[in-house]
């Protein structure tokens, strides 16, 4: 095979940042198909356009997701990459690997594909990039026989992901890795077999720093928090101060609640925890002196997504605090999640994310359907318009209360 020149891609081998072109060339040494891929990408660079088209129907037996069909739009000219499918491999929680696990993945992918990967895709899966239809089942077989399974794609639960949590972080407010593993295993059907209006993403962060960016890109964001007091180690505070750390400038000045005071004489911090919103700034600034509280759990937020269709949404609070205990199998979380899924599956239009459904139907309807209590923590502020619904059950409750001789809150206003 004659070596084609690729002057444009060659430009991207220059510079200090590791080059993806070098990675392709390393793979091409064993896998000629990657030479064809580079020729195709060089052509995209010349023409400033993509040369891939939509996926067809590819998959492995029993699954409706995990494989993304990818076809070249110039199959005659680039027959080696006419089919170049992606396989999503469900990552271990927190992306921890042994070197042997990495080698196993590599061996399977050397046998069945291009040798190119993404470690990892945005959702969290290990991405195996580029194989043909006739390798898919065999590749899956080898993955499964070696302890790996596929992740999600299409209108189903997407592969849940979690931050490193208690494995390597003192901020972790619950066991993110265990919860991620648990949910993934409990919902294998939902992950592998599409039956919903659209995708549903779960991301799990152990503290409000939200290292998985769950609030921006997960339908359900599970973010660790605590409901008691930040633990202060005054000896460590003194140590920070004695080492020249400017507590006022670095910590107090940034506290969004102004709920920290610093006694310069004693070199002691005190925190008005009742007025703290647990933003993490002070803890992140002084990790040796301050620790998250002891009564730990998570806040559940719902609805996050990227722009398409009805604008990007950040997830919003649907449950300010939930205990996440392994011992009871996370039962409360399961109950809430399954009620959300039932309502969404029943009511959503095709390709309508749960956040968009709530936008269309209203939080009132969502709360009623899921049995979650309206609380002020759910909103930045209450509505500023007078357009709200009254339901027969409101009047029934009013009547019942008045019959019971109790005064109904708000009724005196209507006089």
């Amino acid at each position: 095979m004659t070596e084609k020149k690729r002057p444009l891609l060659d430009e991207l081998k220059k510079g200090k940042w590791p080059s993806f072109v070098n990675e392709m060339e390393k793979s091409a040494a064993k896998k000629p198909v990657v030479n064809t891929l580079m020729d195709l990408v060089e052509r995209s660079y010349e023409e400033k356009r993509v040369h891939w088209k939509h996926g067809g129907i590819v998959g492995v037996r029993g699954y409706g997701g995990g494989v993304i069909g990818r076809y070249c739009d110039l199959p005659e000219e680039y027959p080696d990459v006419a089919e170049f499918h992606t396989i999503r491999v469900n990552q271990p929680s927190g992306w921890f690997y042994t070197s042997d696990a990495i080698r196993t993945l590599c061996d399977v992918w050397e046998k069945h594909g291009s040798g190119l990967t993404n470690m990892h895709g945005a959702t969290g899966d290990a991405i195996l990039l580029g194989t043909t239809t006739d390798h898919l089942q065999d590749c899956f077989n080898d993955l499964s026989d070696n302890g790996f399974d596929l992740g999600g794609s299409g209108s189903n639960l997407r592969t849940p992901s979690a931050c490193c949590g208690p494995a390597r972080c003192e901020y972790a407010c619950f066991d993110t890795l265990d919860l991620c593993h648990h949910l993934t295993n409990e919902y294998q059907d939902e992950l592998h077999r599409p039956m919903w209006p659209y995708k549903f993403k779960i991301k799990i962060s152990g503290c409000p720093n939200d290292c998985t960016s769950s609030i921006a890109r997960a339908d359900l964001s599970i973010i660790g928090t605590w409901r008691d007091n930040i633990q202060v180690n005054q000896e460590a505070v003194k140590e920070y101060v004695n080492n020249g750390f400017d507590v006022k400038e670095e910590v107090l000045a940034h506290c969004p609640c102004n709920c920290i005071t610093f006694d310069e004489e004693k070199k002691e911090l005190s925190i008005d925890d009742e007025n703290c919103t647990r933003c993490m700034h002070c803890i992140s600034a002084m990790p040796k002196a301050l620790r998250v509280g002891k009564e730990k759990g998570a806040t559940l937020l719902l609805g996050g997504k990227a722009t398409i269709v009805q604008s990007a949404f950040l997830s919003w609070v649907i449950k300010p605090f939930i205990k996440l205990d392994k011992e009871d199998g996370y039962q409360e979380l399961h109950d809430i999640l399954e009620r959300i899924w039932d309502w969404w599956d029943e009511n959503a239009k095709v390709r309508e994310r749960v956040g968009e459904l709530i936008y269309r139907k209203g939080m009132g309807e969502f709360l009623k359907a899921t049995g979650l209590e309206p609380v002020p923590q759910m909103v930045h502020h209450p509505r500023a318009n007078p357009y709200f619904f009254w339901y027969p059950e409101d009047f029934a409750a009013e009547k019942e209360a008045s019959e019971a001789g109790k005064e109904v809150a708000g009724s005196e206003v209507s006089e």
């Binding site: 998959g59 037996r61 029993g62 699954y63 409706g64 997701g65 039956m195 095709v350």
Partner: protein
């Protein structure tokens, strides 16, 4: 809602899909007169056995394998 044994439900789903290139689970459920959840469950079973396969064309469909 109709009450079917698993065998009957399976037969009803097969019968319906024989008449279609592809279908959404909800449409199957409506046609047969059972809850979508029951169809979801049975469709998943049948997919695992290799009788059905899934399609993704902007949204999800099922079809008989090799039809």
């Amino acid at each position: 809602m109709a009450d079917f044994t698993p065998e009957e439900l399976r037969a009803k789903i097969l019968e319906y899909l024989e008449t279609k290139d592809k279908a959404k689970n909800r449409d199957i459920a409506t046609a047969i007169g059972v809850s979508k959840r029951e169809v979801d469950k049975m469709v998943n079973e049948m997919a695992k056995e290799g009788i059905l396969e899934f399609l993704y064309l902007g949204t999800s469909y099922v079809k008989l394998k090799d039809k």
